[in-house]
C-alpha cells in the first residue's frame, strides 16, 4: 500500500506543469537567503537575481509555447497556452516593476531586500491562479498573491498612507475571501468536487442543478471574490485607496499582474466549471461591466492626485475587460488576454514615469505638480503621453488594439449596446487623461519645478513599455494570434 501510494504521488508530479512558478519560487527563496547575508540596504544584486529568475521563468514559459498541455498534480494545474500567455503577462509586469523599483525604494528610504522575492512569490501565485484547474489551487494561488500584496502594499511601514493601504487591502481582502470560500463551498456541495473540469462535466450530466439556488448562489459568491480582486463595482472601493497609498511600483504591479491573474482564474472557472450558467453570469457581468467602467471613469474626472486618478482609470479598464467576459466568445476571451498584456505595458509604463517624477514622499504627484512637466522632462513627457494615449485607447497604441479586440468580441456576440456604452465611457475617460497632458504641456511650470534625474532601471522599463505599447499597437497581429491560440 505504501509503495503504491508513493508511486501514485510520484506519478502525479509533473514539474513541467509548474515550471515557471517553480523557477520563481526557487529563485525567490535563493534571493531571500542571499538577502539575509547581504549588507543592509544593498538590494541591487537581489533585484538582478530576481530579474534573472523572471527571465528564466519567461524562457520556460515561451519555450513551452504551443507545446502540448502539461497537466499534473492530479488535475490541479494545466500549463496550457492560456496559462502561458498570462504567465508572460505576469512576467513582463514583474520585470517592469522590478526595473523601476530599485532606485525608487532607495529614494523613499526602504531598501528592503525581501521586496523582490515577494514580487516573485506574487508572480508565482498569479501563475498558479492562471494555470490552476482546481478551485483549491486557484484559491491558494490567490492567497499567495494576496498575502504578498498585503505586505507589499504596506511595505513602507513608517508611512501612514502605506500602512493604511496595506491594512485596508488586508481587511477587505480577507472579507472578500470569506465570500469566495463560501461560494466555493456551495459549488462543492452541489457537485461534490473542486476540480473545474469535473464540475463542468457534472453540470453537463445534471443540467437540472444549473437552476438550483445553491449553484447560482455559489457562482455569485465566488464571483464576488474575484470581482473584488479585479476591482469591479461595487467591490472596487478598496482599489483607489490601496493604489494611492501603496508604493508606486507596487501600485503599478497590482493593477496589472494580480488583476490579470484574477481575470485568468475567473475566466477558467466561469468557462470550464460554470459554462452552463453562461446566461446568468453574462447578464450579471453586463451590468457590472457598465457600472465599473462608468464609476471608474466618472470619479477619475475629479481627481487631482495622478496616482489616484490612475487607480480609478484602472477600475474602468477592469470594466472594459469585463466586456470581454460578457461577450463570452472566443474573440472576447482572447481579447481579455490581449488587453491584459496591453494594459500591463501601458499602465506600468505610466507608473514608471510616476516613480521617476515623484520626489520623496510623492506629494508632488498631483496635476499641479505636473504643470510644464512635458517640456522640462521631454523624455518622460513623451513617454507619459504615449501611455496616456494608450490608456485612452487611441491608435496606434496597444490600448486601442486591446479595446478593439474586446469590443469586437462584444459586437460579434451581439452586445452592441455594451460596446456603445464602452466607447462612450472611453470618451469620458478622454477628459481626465487629456487633462494630465494639459498640465504637462499646456501649463507653465511651477516656480519650484526641479529636474528629476532619470534612473537607468526605470528608464529601461519605460522604454520597454513604450516598445510594447507601440508594437502591440502597430503590429498587434502576432500577439493577437497568440491570444487566439491561448484559448483552452
Amino acid at each position: 500500500m505504501d509503495t503504491s501510494l508513493v508511486q501514485q504521488a510520484i506519478d502525479n508530479v509533473n514539474f513541467a506543469a509548474i515550471m515557471p512558478a517553480l523557477i520563481l519560487c526557487v529563485v525567490g527563496m535563493a534571493a531571500l537567503l542571499i538577502g539575509v547575508f547581504s549588507k543592509r540596504g544593498r538590494t541591487f544584486h537581489i533585484s538582478l537575481i530576481c530579474l534573472f529568475g523572471l527571465v528564466a521563468a519567461g524562457v520556460a514559459t515561451v519555450g513551452g509555447w504551443n507545446q502540448p498541455y502539461q497537466f499534473g498534480f492530479s488535475g490541479h494545474v494545466a500549463l496550457d497556452n492560456f496559462a502561458r500567455f498570462f504567465n508572460m503577462t505576469f512576467i513582463i509586469g514583474s520585470i517592469l516593476t522590478i526595473l523601476m523599483s530599485d532606485d525608487y525604494l532607495k529614494r523613499e528610504g526602504y531598501p528592503i531586500s525581501e521586496y523582490y522575492p515577494l514580487i516573485l512569490f506574487t508572480t508565482a501565485g498569479a501563475m498558479l491562479m492562471a494555470s490552476g484547474t482546481d478551485m483549491m489551487t486557484i484559491f491558494l494561488g490567490l492567497e499567495v498573491l494576496s498575502v504578498s500584496l498585503y505586505v507589499l502594499a504596506g511595505l513602507f511601514r513608517n508611512q501612514v498612507r502605506s500602512n493604511e493601504a496595506g491594512l485596508k487591502y488586508f481587511l477587505l481582502g480577507a472579507f472578500s475571501t470569506g465570500f469566495l470560500l463560501y461560494g466555493i463551498a456551495l459549488i462543492y456541495g452541489v457537485t461534490g468536487t473542486t476540480n473545474l473540469t469535473d464540475i463542468g462535466n457534472y453540470f453537463i450530466y445534471h443540467p437540472a442543478l444549473l437552476t438550483n439556488p445553491m449553484t447560482i448562489a455559489g457562482m455569485l459568491l465566488l464571483s464576488v471574490g474575484f470581482l473584488f480582486k479585479i476591482g469591479a463595482a461595487p467591490f472596487h472601493m478598496w482599489a483607489p485607496d490601496v493604489y494611492q497609498g501603496a508604493p508606486t511600483p507596487i501600485t503599478a504591479f497590482m493593477s496589472a499582474g494580480p488583476k490579470a491573474a484574477a481575470f485568468a482564474a475567473f475566466l477558467r472557472i466561469l468557462l470550464l466549471a460554470l459554462g452552463g450558467l453562461e446566461n446568468d453570469w453574462t447578464s450579471l457581468l453586463w451590468v457590472l461591466a457598465v457600472a465599473t467602467m462608468t464609476i471608474g471613469n466618472v470619479i477619475a474626472i475629479s481627481q487631482t492626485d495622478i496616482k489616484r486618478m490612475l487607480a480609478y482609470s484602472s477600475i474602468s479598464h477592469a470594466g472594459y475587460a469585463l466586456v470581454g467576459i460578457v461577450a463570452a466568445n472566443e474573440i472576447g476571451i482572447s481579447g481579455i488576454m490581449f488587453y491584459m498584456l496591453a494594459y500591463t505595458f501601458m499602465n506600468l509604463g505610466a507608473f514608471a514615469v510616476l516613480t521617476l517624477a515623484g520626489k520623496k514622499g510623492e506629494n508632488n504627484l498631483t496635476l499641479d505638480g505636473f504643470a510644464g512637466f512635458g517640456f522640462k522632462q521631454p523624455f518622460l513627457g513623451v513617454a507619459m503621453t504615449i501611455f496616456l494615449f494608450s490608456l485612452m485607447g487611441l491608435p496606434p497604441t496597444a490600448g486601442f488594439a486591446g479595446k478593439f479586440y474586446i469590443f469586437a468580441g462584444a459586437v460579434k456576440a451581439g452586445y452592441l449596446w455594451l460596446a456603445v456604452i464602452g466607447v462612450l465611457n472611453s470618451a469620458v475617460s478622454l477628459y481626465y487623461y487629456l487633462r494630465v497632458m494639459v498640465y504637462m504641456y499646456f501649463r507653465d511650470p511651477n516656480e519650484e519645478f526641479e529636474w528629476v534625474a532619470l534612473k537607468t532601471g526605470a528608464v529601461i522599463s519605460i522604454i520597454l513599455a513604450i516598445i510594447g505599447v507601440l508594437y502591440l499597437g502597430i503590429l498587434p497581429g502576432g500577439v493577437m494570434e497568440m491570444a487566439k491560440l491561448g484559448l483552452f
Binding site: 505586505v151 500602512n163 496595506g166 480577507a174 461534490g192 468536487t193 497609498g245
Partner: protein
C-alpha cells in the same frame, strides 16, 4: 437525524454574524476576528458537505483554509502593529487618510 442542512444552517448563522461584526465593529482586530468567524463558518460547511458527500476534498480544503487563515493572521496582525505604531490606534475609523 442531524442532516447536513443543520450544519449549514449553523454555518449560515455564523457567517451572517461575522458579516454583521465586520460591518459594525470599529476595532480592526475584532473585525479580523469576525472575518475568522466567517471563515470558520465556511469551514463548517465544507466539513459538513465533505461528510455528506463522502469525499475528502472538503476537509482538505478546510485544512488549507486554516493555513491561509494563519498566514493572513500573521500578516494582518503585523500590518496592524505597524499601523498602530504610526497612528496609536487600530480603530478603522482612523484609517481614513486615503479617501475621495
Amino acid at each position: 437525524m442531524i442532516t447536513v442542512y443543520h450544519y449549514m444552517a449553523v454555518s449560515a448563522i455564523l457567517f451572517s454574524l461575522g458579516t454583521f461584526g465586520v460591518l459594525t465593529r470599529k476595532n480592526a482586530i475584532v473585525i479580523f476576528m469576525c472575518i475568522e468567524l466567517m471563515l470558520n463558518s465556511v469551514n463548517l460547511t465544507f466539513i459538513a458537505l465533505s461528510r455528506h458527500l463522502g469525499s475528502m476534498d472538503g476537509q482538505v480544503f478546510v485544512f488549507f483554509i486554516m493555513t491561509v487563515a494563519a498566514a493572513e493572521a500573521a500578516v494582518g496582525l503585523a500590518l496592524m502593529i505597524s499601523f498602530y505604531r504610526n497612528r496609536e490606534s487600530i480603530d478603522v475609523d482612523d484609517i481614513n487618510l486615503l479617501k475621495w
